[in-house]
Symmetry: C2
DNA sequence: TAGATTGTTAATCGATTAACAATC
DNA sequence: TAGATTGTTAATCGATTAACAATC
């Protein structure tokens, strides 16, 4: 062992906390760009993200001098810089499972598109829905999932199905090769260790907000 | 100043981190109860919440000895204990703004009901929708919002409307006295300092998951 | 008893914050 | 110039982790 070996100045991988915060900044910046905001200060970013302004400046200054003193950060160029840092500047394809009300609402919104995620295929296990269209995309049978994941380079599966069906469809996604699942039903999913499940839980956020409101 | 004054053993207010984690544990426990799970270990809770098992045991042991060595935690009684700690054991009323696809999907699911939040009123500014029903509840006109907030003790407003309408409806909620807003449109909302806005941002979670998947 | 898992300690690491010089 | 806000330091606080005795 060489105890005096120099450590690299920049770690190859961001810490969980930094990556999470940078993702949040990016979301706010994307919305700020939409309303034609040119610059934004760490103070303003703090109000929208609930992250301390010093922490924001510290997070950003670790990667370069992106701001202008007395002015703030240029919204558009900061978006580009953060995308580079997160290495997620490209386009990523996602599959939506479930063509019900929730699935339709998701497909019709731009919550994913704004961040470079494109819904490229929609699946449902109800034969009645297969063949109908949501926007430009046809609703396809689950049996086509495996082929679609491979052909369309799908990296994320979004589950917008009732809790009772979610485990079975999660299994289908995993077996088709998807390693990141976003679960809109709150139910617990059993997946292999190399699969990441993110569960949507608006009530958790509310519970937490309520605690500070009540105390 | 008396420098030797003893500090209280239990702080009056939980730290932000502890409150957020307890809320997450509660969500998983609620789902675990649904599938008739009797006990759960810190290891299992860790797999579902992505919180370190030692951290979980530490968080809980700060409030009492809730677990049984060699066995784990009783799901049902741990739910009760955490509800007591969060002081959110009661029922809290929420108003849903927006009776479109997303609003209807939310009203028809139990994501909020599972955590003691009851949707007691639904509003929409489209006259075509006013008077129709979603489940048991009639869709009401925004003009009735103020009275409903007072009469039905509404503490949370959930915005399920298009981005273009969200600021105006957030203003209505604030003026009606609501201090916690959950915003399903990603758009930035300007609110007074005493109002808390939580923005739903599934894409932020995905971006973050993707970073670790790609690196 | 044997196996499993909690409760708790101690050590380390990263997050948070205040403060302020630099500078746009 | 005057005002505002970044970039950065230094000090503190809370989160994280490994390890293990206690005990169900």
């Amino acid at each position: 062992m060489n105890e005096t070996a120099p450590r690299p100045a920049t770690p190859e991988r961001l810490s969980l906390g930094v990556a999470a915060r940078l993702s949040r900044y990016l979301q706010v910046l994307t919305e700020a760009k939409k309303i034609a905001k040119q610059t934004i200060s760490s103070q303003e970013l703090s109000e929208y993200t609930h992250v301390n302004p010093t922490q924001i400046r510290r997070d950003l200054s670790g990667f370069g001098k992106f701001g202008k003193r007395g002015v703030g950060y240029n919204v558009e160029s900061l978006i580009e810089e953060i995308r580079k840092i997160l290495k997620t500047a490209g386009q990523h394809n996602i599959a939506l499972i479930g063509a019900g009300r929730l699935g339709t609402a998701i497909a019709s919104s731009d919550v994913f598109a704004d961040h470079g995620f494109q819904i490229v295929a929609i699946f449902d296990n109800d034969p009645q829905k297969v063949g109908t269209r949501i926007g430009e995309l046809p609703v396809r049978s689950i049996s086509e999932l495996r082929a679609a994941v491979a052909e369309q380079k799908i990296v994320v599966g979004v589950l917008a199905v009732p809790p009772a069906a979610s485990q079975q469809l999660a299994d289908e996604l995993v077996s088709a090769g998807v390693r990141i699942i976003f679960n809109y039903s709150g139910s617990l999913l059993s997946v292999p260790a190399d699969v990441t499940v993110h569960t949507s839980s608006p009530a958790v956020d509310l519970l937490y907000a309520l605690y500070f409101y009540l105390t």
